[in-house]
């Protein structure tokens, strides 16, 4: 009873004091924003009892309009018609029966009480949490140019500042190239852009970048973090897992501009589409991305549950920008997700065919055989096209030059493409005399050869009869309760579309539906985050009641609707962002503005680049980067014994066998990802383990990073080959230095930078001239042989400088 709201006399009392407080001529109090200021307080301080997980069905609920404004017997917690009569006012001020109760862990501050009071004075309008209401495009004044700039400028105007000046063109070129492709611009490319004085030169430059294969590789990386892509199973033995064709498919999807709604649908339910293509099936690797185990004593039912928890919760983070985890054990404390709903979502995944235990097998569960890398994929596409071509020609000739017997006719009609090709290739078949026959025979051979080189990839497949899903008490696998659960979605986010099947395909239809309030917002926020360095919503993993509000809500919503309107075209959205004036701003912190978090977007981005980009820039600048795409993860240099120190003796990833030759120099996207021990140069610079979803990496700054930047084998090797490039490209120091800065900063060095650099070179020349043996030692690190025609002293001196600039903020920062 203590917790129940009480009535009457006190209401009158407070009403009186209200009128006293309000007075008559007081200026109108500044309006309080409910979703920004009030709902977060309610969620933080009140929902623990009066929220989705209320213990008692009769208890007041403050997490919905209906609950908060319900008639509690002559009074209401929040009375929209007579806000000053709201019971909540009484109780938060009460000393006898205070709310929150005196013994509650979280108490309201005076400031919070005042805010609630003010809000009620202002009318006490209770509205749904912003993120659960479908976004709309707020109309813009006719004269406004780019939408992004409009909304950002509008807020800046409130602070009496304008957008910062544009960054200089070289800096901007470097910035946009790094954002879109993860690499600085090629010097020639940069030159074309800088000398292009026509209008829209920048837009053309952006288009060129987006057409590069490097674009898809770079964009894919963020997705792989979110879906926790790894090359191993992740638990216990952490054995190899064959799923890299999925990674390569993601790269292709971005490079081929697959609309994001299809991108989502294929991953969730490619196998459930009518007559799914090979790509659509590969994409379902997403469903199989959960870490798995085959530990000796493990109980299968336990891991059936755990695997599904993982998939359900990953879906929450990746698409809904919210944690569903709380609802695994009980109704969510803050967000309107019931435990029942959690298991409704889980039920979508509880019907996949694989066993809960991975058997430590590379081909765990359902697998498809598919081309093993991008070249093989391209070749396969050519073969498929050739087959289509032959079949079309063959079909066309039937009844013309070719006559089919009755038998052949029915055989032809019932055969698939492969079968028909066999009929054509048959020496004794109806096409025996046609020139098509030998072409078909050759093609059949080529296809068989290509298929012979296929690899396997984990895919999703449905059981004919789905497993029964029940709510698990406290999330304990052995405590199911209640009736079997029918797959369904979260009520707060709108129901499933009409006619949507109750399977993963229906789930995808729901996620990509026009009415879904979250998916597009969550996706554009993450696109913004990788473009501007940080999201409009600073908690990309949480759009719920305790997440941060967008810095520019109208802008986020506009972009989300635009994503739908433009046909889920990622390049379109990215283009809007990178061509905005906001993006082009100078990155310098502004003296006149105190905005360390850049919430106003009054300057361009500045932050340390990701682990992969740091490595790729080095390889690229030193001319080492191998552009081969796709295939099994590569194993560059790694200190000895790192896997062995952790691995189970029975694990097939206990020994790290370093690659040789060009595989040492592939893009970092392709570096082998052992989930229990990823490459140290990745983890050193904040790459996640990929055991669980990561939609925003931390950006730490540690001494160990310094050691890695300056001492790691690959970095020393790249500095050496970069120096070699400098020495062979220019005769004079000035020219060499110019090229160094052109590669890493897309500009010439300043006088001061040149002075610092040359001072180091001179020092190193003297030093290595005194002991050329040291120079030889230094230049022999890494597999690539040094260019012996170069003077070792000069080479070593320039290698030192290259390593230094490669480690400096000039190279490792985005600005």
């Amino acid at each position: 009873m203590y917790y129940k709201f009480v009535r009457l006399a006190v209401v009158l009392l407070i009403s009186i004091s209200w009128s006293v407080q309000c007075g008559g001529d007081e200026p109108k109090p500044p309006s309080v924003d409910f979703s920004r200021q009030i709902l977060p307080i309610l969620a933080d301080k009140c929902f623990v009892c009066h929220g989705p997980d209320a213990e008692d069905e009769d208890l007041l609920r403050l997490d919905s309009v209906e609950g908060a404004t319900a008639d509690l017997g002559g009074y209401r917690a929040i009375d929209s018609e007579h806000p000053q009569k709201s019971q909540i006012l009484v109780r938060i001020q009460s000393t006898d029966e205070p709310m929150p109760p005196a013994d509650a862990k979280k108490q309201l501050t005076e400031q919070e009480k005042n805010l609630i009071t003010k809000w009620l004075e202002g009318g006490g309008r209770y509205i749904k949490h912003w993120a659960y209401v479908a976004p709309v495009k707020k109309p813009l004044p006719a004269e406004s140019g780019m939408v992004i700039d409009h909304w950002i400028a509008a807020q800046l105007a409130d602070h009496n500042v304008a957008l910062a000046e544009e960054a200089d063109r070289p800096t901007l070129a470097r910035r946009v190239a790094l954002i879109l492709t993860g690499l600085p611009p090629e010097p020639e490319q940069l030159q074309v852009f800088l000398s292009d004085k026509r209008p829209a030169a920048y837009e053309r430059f952006v288009d060129v970048l987006m057409q590069s294969d490097r674009y898809g590789e770079h964009q894919a990386r963020y997705w792989l973090d979110a879906v926790r892509y790894g090359d191993t199973h992740g638990l216990h033995l952490d054995n190899r897992r064959g799923i890299y064709p999925y990674r390569d498919w993601v790269v292709r999807a971005f490079n081929n501009d697959l609309p994001l709604n299809q991108f989502i649908t294929w991953q969730l339910a490619g196998d459930l589409l009518p007559d799914p293509s090979m790509q659509q099936r590969i994409a379902t690797g997403f469903v199989r991305m959960n870490p798995s185990t085959a530990e000796g004593g493990a109980i299968p039912a336990e891991f059936q549950a755990k695997n599904n928890f993982d998939r359900t919760e990953n879906l929450g983070t990746v698409f809904l920008g919210m944690s569903l985890t709380c609802a695994r054990c009980h109704n969510h404390k803050y967000d309107p997700v019931t435990q029942n709903e959690y298991y409704q979502i889980l039920a979508f995944f509880n019907s996949t065919a694989e066993s809960p235990m991975d058997g430590n097998s590379y081909t765990y569960g359902s697998v498809d055989k598919v081309p093993s890398d991008q070249a093989a994929w391209n070749h396969w596409q050519e073969l498929a096209a050739a087959r289509t071509n032959i079949l079309e020609r063959a079909s066309g000739s039937i009844g013309q030059t070719i006559t089919l017997s009755k038998d052949d006719q029915s055989k032809w009609a019932s055969s698939d493409e492969k079968g028909r090709l066999q009929i054509i290739a048959d020496e004794k078949g109806p096409f025996a005399d046609s020139p098509l026959r030998s072409q078909a025979a050759d093609l059949t051979q080529d296809i068989e050869k290509a298929e012979g080189a296929f690899t396997t990839t984990l895919v999703a497949k449905e059981l004919p009869n789905p497993r029964v899903t029940r709510v698990l008490t406290r999330g304990e696998y052995n405590l199911p309760m209640g009736e079997p659960i029918v797959p369904d979605v979260l009520a707060i986010l709108g129901g499933m579309p009409d006619k949507a099947p109750r399977n993963r395909l229906g789930l995808a239809m729901w996620l990509t539906g026009r009415e879904h309030p979250l998916v597009a917002r969550v996706l554009v926020n993450r696109i913004w985050q990788r473009t501007f360095g940080i999201g409009l919503v600073r908690t990309p993993e949480d759009f719920g009641l305790r997440g941060q509000l967008p810095t520019h809500p109208e802008l986020l919503d506009w972009l989300a609707v635009e994503l739908h309107d433009c046909g889920w075209n990622l390049k379109h959205i990215l283009r809007l962002m990178v061509t905005s004036r906001a993006f082009k701003q100078n990155s310098a912190w502004r003296k006149e503005l105190s905005d360390p978090e850049n919430r106003l977007w009054a300057r361009g981005p500045s932050h340390r680049l990701d682990a992969e980009v740091l490595r790729d820039i080095g390889l690229w600048s030193g001319g080492l980067l191998d552009s081969t795409m796709g295939g099994e993860g590569v194993k560059p240099y790694q200190p000895g014994g790192m896997w062995f120190a952790l691995a189970h003796p029975g694990s097939n990833t206990k020994k790290y066998v370093q690659d040789k030759g060009s595989r040492l120099y592939r893009r970092s996207l392709y570096v082998y990802w052992k989930r229990t021990s990823p490459h140290p140069m990745m983890t050193l610079f904040d790459a996640p383990s990929r055991e669980s979803s990561c939609v925003m990496r931390s950006r730490t700054n540690t001494p160990l990073q310094s050691l890695g930047l300056l001492n790691e084998t690959q970095r020393v090797e790249m500095a050496r080959t970069l120096a070699e490039r400098l020495l062979t490209s220019a005769e004079q120091d000035a020219g060499r230095l110019k090229l160094l800065f052109l590669l890493l900063a897309s500009r010439e060095p300043s006088d001061r930078e040149a002075e610092i650099s040359m001072q180091l070179v001179r020092k190193m020349r003297t030093r290595y001239a005194a002991s050329p043996d040291d120079a030889v030692q230094f230049l022999s690190i890494g597999e690539v042989k040094r260019d012996e025609t170069l003077d070792v002293v000069e080479h070593a001196a320039w290698t030192q400088l290259s390593a230094t600039v490669l480690a400096s903020d000039i190279a490792i920062m985005l600005y």
């Binding site: 000796g296 493990a298 755990k306 189970h648 669980s692 022999s780 030192q800 000039i810």
Partner: protein, 501 residues
């Protein structure tokens, strides 16, 4: 644009930290001091200030026995089991306990196997403590030990169990105990990180370890444990490349700092200044770590304490000696992982070797800390992720047997750092299978993580107690992720005050 005001600069950095790490508001002042760069930190010694209350311990050295050491054969003496040799575990003792897939359907059932080892009662500060002949050295420090027989968990397999005890969750993704300590307390030494992890050599590396055990989950990655290795560089990438001297590196860093300074002048991003300091700390580490690893200054007496094997890099004893040296240099949190305790079969052969690996190192560490006056503020913890069964896995003979995983009770000991010295805590039944009350009477219900039962220590209770000793309230050290204020102890954990001196 320059920022000469250190306080302002610090504020900005902190803001960025909050920005990227979303540091919860509950972070106390001690944690702030820890987060501060040493040169900006207050000059008073805050090392035992704690963040929520005064700390009993400045350092924690966690000797983690991965795989599940057998409490039966080392610590939990059950003479009555001898009479029941080969008999089946009674159902009422099993009391519905789920059993791993390895012994659930064993043909021989669940035959009881008493320890073959001789136990001796050693004097402590209470009623004495039984220790088996496998740990002759550890037995000599019985008066320092707080031996807890009633530690328990729910997990019955390695990966979930070790992830649980180290991160508070059976499913990967959460910050480790060490990361929480680093987040809460920061570092005390400007030349070394605050959290160091070592892997000791073993003959039976039967189970795996995972980066997540010293990782940060959703917390910023700078709270992860730094691996101190016995192969190659002790710290990854510590050594300069061949042909690069310390003077060369100095010249290089001078140029690097000057270049970064120009970037800072151009952009004014305080992160750039912070990085200059990190490069300098790296340079200092290049001197401080070799000095740390150089055992030549250690006396003969010291090696006598730890044993000869302490001279061989990578042995458990060498790791223990390093741990002391690290603590001495202000490193707060040190973990040594020793694998090979997963004795499903041939337990005697394996555990004899395992005990030999660790016994003298453990005792040496405690004696060494004691004689240097460091034990009082250094908490030493010894234990694994679960215990082992009273029944045999595989073939049972008087001389040879194996044991499966057992979650309901296992032994963990602590020493120093504010825990009571020379006591035992918690009691188990005659099968060392279930926790009982102090009189040996079975508990009415199995203890659980929801409500603390006196005399027991759930792994969340253990972690809550460790944090408490370090000056941290486990309910108040939180980190917000996905709208939730996460804790190491989830929504559980109880500080076991009975153990605290």
């Amino acid at each position: 644009m320059t920022l000469h005001n250190p306080a302002r600069e610090y504020e900005l950095m902190l803001t960025r930290r909050q920005l990227f790490g979303r540091t919860a508001l509950t972070l106390g002042t001690g944690a702030l001091a820890g987060l501060m760069q040493p040169d900006l930190a207050a000059d008073t010694d805050k090392s035992t200030a704690g963040i929520h209350h005064a700390a009993k311990a400045k350092h924690v050295i966690y000797l983690f026995m991965s795989g599940g050491p057998s409490h039966h054969d080392m610590w939990d003496y059950k003479p009555k089991l001898k009479e029941k040799f080969g008999e089946q575990l009674p159902d009422e003792v099993r009391d519905g306990q789920r059993i791993t897939g390895m012994t659930a359907n064993q043909k021989s059932g669940l035959p009881l196997a008493a320890s073959k080892y001789k136990f001796t009662k050693h004097e402590n500060n209470d009623k004495g403590v039984w220790i088996s002949e496998l740990l002759p050295h550890t037995a000599t420090v019985a008066k320092e030990l707080c031996v807890v027989h009633s530690t328990f968990t729910e997990a019955i397999n390695h990966d979930p169990a070790i992830t649980y005890i180290q991160t508070g969750s059976q499913i990967p993704g959460r910050p480790s105990l060490g990361a929480w300590l680093s987040y809460g307390l920061g570092s005390m030494n400007e030349n070394l990180p605050g959290y160091v992890v070592m892997h000791a050599k073993t003959s039976f590396a039967e189970q795996s370890l995972f980066n997540r055990l010293w990782g940060t989950g959703f917390m910023p990655a700078d709270h992860q444990g730094m691996l101190m290795r016995s192969q190659g560089d002790p710290v990854l990438y510590l050594s300069n490349p061949r042909g690069v001297s310390r003077a060369d590196r100095r010249a290089q860093l001078d140029a690097l700092s000057a270049l970064n300074q120009t970037s800072f002048e151009q952009f004014g991003d305080p992160e750039m200044l912070a990085r200059i300091r990190q490069h300098e700390m790296a340079y200092r580490m290049q001197a401080s770590v070799p000095e740390l690893m150089d055992l030549s200054t250690e006396s003969k007496e010291t090696f006598e304490l730890y044993g000869e094997s302490a001279k061989t890099p990578g042995t458990f004893a060498a790791c223990c000696l390093n741990a002391r040296r690290l603590a001495e240099r202000g490193v707060r949190n040190i973990q040594i992982f020793h694998r090979g305790w997963d004795a499903h079969g041939n337990l005697p052969r394996e555990h004899e070797s395992q005990c030999k690996d660790v016994d003298q190192g453990c005792a040496g560490l405690i004696k060494d800390l004691r004689r240097r006056g460091m034990l009082d503020d250094t908490l030493v913890i010894w234990g694994g992720e679960f215990g082992r069964t009273a029944y045999c896995q595989g073939k049972l003979t008087a001389e040879n047997y194996g044991r499966d995983h057992h979650p309901r009770c296992f032994t963990v000991w602590m020493a120093g750092g504010g825990v009571k010295a020379g006591i035992t805590y918690g009691r188990t039944d005659d099968y060392a299978y279930n926790i009982t009350d102090a009189d040996g009477v079975p508990l009415a219900t199995q203890p659980n993580k929801e409500t603390w039962t006196p005399g027991t220590m759930h792994i969340h209770d253990l972690n809550a107690t460790i944090l408490h000793l370090m000056g941290i309230d486990h309910e108040r050290l939180t980190y917000r992720y996905q709208g939730r204020d996460f804790r190491l102890t989830d929504v559980h954990g109880h500080v076991v005050h009975d153990l605290i001196a």
